[in-house]
């Protein structure tokens, strides 16, 4: 027994050194491992935690629904959001062979060349784990077909990208404007207002003016994805819901807008309808217009290019972004000045021989034979130039003329809620000196007296002028926004109250006389034969602006009606047809149709029937 014990001990002794060295080796190795694991899990733990979160969670923006825009009838929206999708590819999730076959399959579905698809994923993107957009504006049914066979499309994903669809667009383009991707320059300016690199932003019109209201606030979905990019762990998903944009109700009356649009027809110019008692714009037409829906198609670039290069400048909203010589319409302000300043006895007659000499320049009246002796109201009705030449030069002087032009808001912004308004020009001797470096001469005063020369106004300023007359001294700020509504509850968040833009100290009697004189233009004057509507008594003033063309002039007509009703029931109509069109005296005709349509509650076709202008059915050049 002892022998065994010793033998066992011998064995033990023989091996103990080697076994213990193995033991030591094992213990050291395990301690090293433990230490390294400690380093990974504790020292560098945070770093890996972040990485784990990054890898397994992707945050996807949930785009906020952009607000819809309604007209004042508030029944059908003028612009809606249409579902559209962008197809993306995460190049890092595909091998080169897969990339090739996926591109092949996508090319047939998306209708684009395989090489075009591969060109979207250049070599330096191949290891990128970020979605790269292959195509936007993809229809839902294409997406369905991808989704049904998602296993054939590794690395392919899509994302809802609602686009704006402007309903019955035409002339509303200038009112509503359009949206587009934010540019780098815009982002630099707007960065602090919550815009991001891929934000959609209003580029013009109401879309731009009220972008902050319309855009809402994007939400975010924090998706946890597995190795295949599939969304997993739906229960634990964190989501910050989007705040949808506010709905806007405009002052525009869709029917009047359509009427005005058709009344103007395809003539370069504008038609503006406004409620003088509030400044609400009922219709705003500027021709030519553009179709913003073109920008959400494949041909967006070509469309944009086409519009931008068009010599007619379809992007220009002529009602506010273009100023013209007011021509004879300015005689309304001249009359007001003369009456208010009592510069001339309204009954005093000035003899018109068809021309007048100022210095060595001869200024003609539009009536070569002359109007003979005319008093103020006759002069306005017949639009006698010689009377107003004399009035301006001998009775008022440029300072008073400029002063009254400014009292009517000329040369100042109207503050309409659309971007890009211009303010026109009211010339003064100082202004001319500063701008042209030359002295004011009598001829300048003569020109200004009949609304020519340096004087220029926008159609919306013209509408304010008429509002001033019919309101007898008050102008409300012209505006397009009537109400802001919550998109979900439909509750009104804000109603826009009429805001007084300017009040005038001019006596009401003066305005009443001007009103009568403007009525005289219709009953006994230049517009007599054209304003044939019996639906409403109209008061107004024509204007024929000389732009240097032989047989063509800028044609203005500024009017309001009903003549004998309180301002609350009245509308102001301003039409302006540029000289670029054939001379048809169209401004007045268009206004006639608009008045007929509004007050007889007729559409364009019914209105021209009523006016016995049936031949105009053929005029529809649309």
């Amino acid at each position: 027994m002892n022998e065994h014990y010793y033998s066992a001990n011998t064995v033990k002794n023989r091996y103990s050194l080697r076994v213990y060295s193995l033991l030591l080796f094992i213990v050291v190795a395990m301690l090293v491992y433990l230490g390294y694991i400690f380093h990974l899990q504790i020292t560098k733990g945070g770093e890996y935690k972040n990485r784990a979160r990054q890898v397994s969670s992707r945050s996807i923006p949930i785009p906020a629904q952009r607000g819809e825009i309604f007209d004042r009838n508030h029944d059908t929206p003028m612009v809606i959001n249409v579902d559209s999708f962008a197809v993306n590819m995460i190049p890092g999730e595909l091998t080169n062979e897969q990339m090739d076959s996926v591109a092949q399959r996508l090319s047939t579905l998306l209708g684009m060349g395989k090489d075009d698809i591969l060109a979207k994923v250049p070599a330096q993107y191949r290891n990128l784990y970020q979605p790269v957009e292959i195509k936007s504006g993809v229809d839902f049914d294409i997406i369905t077909r991808i989704a049904e066979h998602i296993e054939d499309y590794p690395g392919v994903s899509w994302q809802g990208k609602p686009i704006r669809s402007y309903q019955d667009s035409n002339s509303s383009a200038h009112i509503l404007g359009h949206v587009g991707g934010i540019t780098t320059e815009e982002l630099q300016v707007m960065y602090n207002q919550g815009y991001a690199i891929n934000s959609v932003i209003g580029k013009s019109g109401i879309e731009k003016q009220y972008d902050q209201l319309l855009r809402g606030k994007d939400g975010r979905r924090y998706n946890v994805v597995d190795v295949y990019g599939r969304q997993v762990g739906s229960g634990k998903m964190r989501e910050v819901p989007p705040e949808n944009g506010k709905n806007l109700v405009l002052t525009i009356d869709r029917r009047i807008q359509k009427l005005a649009e058709q009344a103007l027809g395809q003539r370069t110019g504008t038609a503006l309808v406004m409620k003088p008692a509030s400044g609400e714009i009922l219709a705003m037409v500027s021709y030519p217009w553009y179709n913003p829906n073109d920008f959400y198609t494949d041909k967006a670039f070509q469309a944009y290019r086409g519009y931008a290069l068009d010599e007619q400048h379809p992007f220009l909203n002529r009602t506010i972004q273009s100023s013209y010589a007011p021509a004879s319409t300015f005689k309304v302000i001249m009359s007001t000045a003369a009456l208010e300043e009592e510069a001339i006895d309204p009954q005093k007659e000035i003899v018109c021989r068809g021309y007048i000499w100022v210095g060595n320049r001869k200024f003609n009246c539009h009536e070569p034979k002359g109007h003979g002796p005319v008093n103020l109201s006759e002069a306005l009705a017949e639009s006698c130039n010689v009377y107003f030449y004399t009035l301006g030069l001998n009775y008022l002087g440029i300072d008073f003329i400029a002063n009254y032009a400014k009292r009517f808001g000329y040369g100042e912004y109207t503050g309409i809620d659309l971007p890009g308004e211009v303010k026109g020009t009211v010339p003064t001797p100082i202004w001319k000196e500063q701008t042209y470096g030359s002295a004011w001469v009598g001829g300048d005063t003569v020109n200004t007296s009949i609304g020519q020369g340096y004087l220029s106004v926008t159609p919306v300023q013209m509408a304010n002028m008429a509002a001033m007359v019919t309101n007898e001294g008050t102008v409300y700020k012209p505006h397009l926004l009537k109400k802001v509504e919550d998109p979900v509850s439909g509750q009104t968040i804000k109603t826009i109250e009429p805001e007084i833009l300017r009040t005038s100290s001019i006596r009401k009697e003066t305005f009443k006389t001007v009103q009568q004189n403007m009525r005289g233009v219709i009953t006994d004057g230049t517009a007599e034969v054209v304003i044939t509507t019996e639906a409403v008594k109209v008061a107004g003033k024509t204007g024929t602006g000389d732009v240097g063309l032989e047989e063509s002039w800028d044609a203005w007509f500024v009017a309001y009606g009903p003549y004998d009703a309180p301002p609350e029931e009245q509308v102001v109509v301003v039409t302006m047809v540029e000289a670029a069109n054939d001379w048809e005296w169209w401004a007045v005709r268009a206004a006639n149709i608009i008045f007929q349509g509004i007050f007889a509650d007729q559409n364009y076709d019914e209105a021209i029937e009523s006016l016995n202008w049936g031949w105009l059915h053929n005029d529809r050049r649309e």
């Binding site: 027994m1 002892n2 065994h4 014990y5 033998s7 066992a8 064995v11 033990k12 023989r14 091996y15 103990s16 080697r18 076994v19 213990y20 193995l22 033991l23 094992i26 213990v27 190795a29 395990m30 491992y33 433990l34 390294y36 694991i37 400690f38 990974l40 899990q41 504790i42 560098k44 733990g45 945070g46 770093e47 890996y48 935690k49 990485r51 784990a52 979160r53 890898v55 397994s56 890092g92 091998t95 290891n127 946890v224 994805v225 597995d226 190795v227 295949y228 997993v232 762990g233 739906s234 229960g235």
Partner: protein, 447 residues
């Protein structure tokens, strides 16, 4: 309990229940249970649905393994010694059968279908080899240091290795040479021969890996490395080195200077390593070699083998101190982690149980390894010491490679983590190993 206080001379006693080494047994049992838990966890997808029934099978394997564990306590471990040749030959035959009729899983014909269960004979062969080597070394106890012993034992090792390489299952064969070296070292085999073998293996791997390293990891050309790449240069260099080595040996024969011996062995070693590394690269594809070294810089292959390492590292690292909680791991349940139930079982444990979990796992293994070595040292006979040490090293080697792989410091080889990884063969192999150690413990000092 009677006799616990008895004197040293009186330690010999019949095996009673109290002789049973609970330390290793309970550690093993704990590891098995944790393994089962996390195999369950790995089968749960992100929606919390169980998508794999592996854990049920694993429970069956654990149960049978435990039965086997106790059954193996009945015969004296010396029976193994007597049966060592039969066991070894039987397993060799199984390997051949596997090669001929086995099932191919992941490109290796390493599975043998048996009553609906698949087994991997290459796993059991590890135990078979340990027993064979232990038995052989004890048999050659008196000429242990001879070159013959070394070469015969090496042949015993290379035979099954070759069969497994033919499957081809490179990962599994990796265990065999270290096993031979360690058991040989403990047994007292010619150390110079062992050292040369070790160096030969290291150089071979090193030379084989260098061009791939240059190509994929370094990603720039080093002209000098042409000698590992171009076949004619390889042969030329190898021949030159071999010639120099032989001359040196001749020199040693005449001059008897040790300098010539070292010089000659080095020359021959490099020559042979170069040749075999060339062979290595002919047999293995670049991507297979790539798997061996990608852990150095996993970013170079974020799609392929690097992916596993990056994901595993992220899983382990993001576990932090306390872990994300059982079934709460993101890397694992969102299927970022590949081979979660087998190769990367440690990653999921580390992710969900954090450093605490890692510490517990390592500690349980440490108990088994340390206690196992002590038990084998006290066995009182050579066979006991050698199989004990062999089993301990086998478990240790798997642990180092597998956990090393999970923490990004070892190559990806598909070697399982004993007791934890899913799979019956490896579980049984390890259990048999520990059963032998328990058997040794129960029968110490008894002949």
């Amino acid at each position: 309990m009677i006799g616990e206080n008895d004197g040293l001379l009186n330690r010999q006693r019949s095996g009673s229940i109290f002789e049973f080494d609970f330390l290793t047994f309970l550690s093993m049992l704990s590891l098995m249970c944790i393994g089962g838990l996390f195999i369950y966890s790995s089968g749960v997808n992100a929606e919390g649905q169980l998508i794999s029934r592996e854990y049920v099978l694993q429970i069956v394997w654990i149960a049978t393994a435990l039965i086997l564990y106790f059954l193996l306590q009945l015969p004296h471990y010396n029976t193994m010694q007597k049966l060592s040749i039969q066991i070894y030959v039987a397993l060799l035959l199984l390997l051949i059968v596997t090669l001929l009729f086995g099932r191919t899983v992941k490109g290796a014909r390493s599975w043998l279908g048996l009553f609906g269960f698949g087994i991997q004979p290459s796993e059991f062969m590890k135990i078979g080899l340990i027993i064979a080597l232990a038995s052989f070394f004890q048999h050659r106890k008196n000429e242990i240091g001879s070159m013959g012993t070394f070469l015969l034992a090496l042949s015993l090792t290379l035979l099954p290795m070759g069969l497994i390489l033919l499957q081809p299952d490179m990962g599994t064969t990796l265990v065999y040479i270290p096993l031979f070296i360690v058991i040989g070292f403990i047994a007292g085999v010619n150390r110079r021969a062992l050292l040369l073998l070790l160096l030969f293996v290291l150089f071979t791997v090193f030379f084989a890996v260098i061009p791939v390293w240059e190509n994929y990891i370094l990603q720039q050309e080093i002209r000098f490395l042409e000698i590992f790449r171009r076949s004619n240069l390889v042969f030329f260099t190898s021949a030159t080195l071999g010639f120099v080595g032989l001359i040196a040996f001749l020199g040693y024969r005449f001059a008897k200077s040790r300098f010539f011996l070292y010089f000659g062995s080095t020359g021959l070693l490099l020559s042979l390593s170069l040749l075999s590394s060339y062979l290595f690269r002919v047999i293995l594809k670049d991507y297979q070699i790539m798997r061996l070294i990608v852990f150095i810089k996993p970013e170079v292959d974020p799609q392929g083998s690097g992916w596993h390492i990056i994901q595993s590292l992220t899983a382990v690292g993001s576990g932090g101190f306390w872990g994300k909680g059982f079934l709460e791991g993101t890397q694992s349940h969102y299927q970022f982690l590949p081979e979660q139930s087998t190769d990367f079982i440690f990653s999921i444990i580390a992710e969900e149980w954090g450093f605490i979990g890692s510490f517990v796992i390592l500690s349980l293994f440490a108990v088994i390894l340390i206690r196992g070595l002590i038990i084998s040292l006290h066995s009182g006979d050579d066979f006991g010491v050698l199989i004990g040490a062999g089993v301990v090293f086998m478990i240790f080697f798997h642990l180092v490679i597998n956990i090393g792989m999970a923490i990004g410091i070892m190559p990806i080889t598909g070697i399982p983590l004993f007791f934890l990884s899913y799979g019956g063969s490896s579980l049984w192999t390890a259990t048999i190993g520990l059963a032998l150690i328990q058997n040794i413990h129960l029968r110490r000092y008894k002949y």
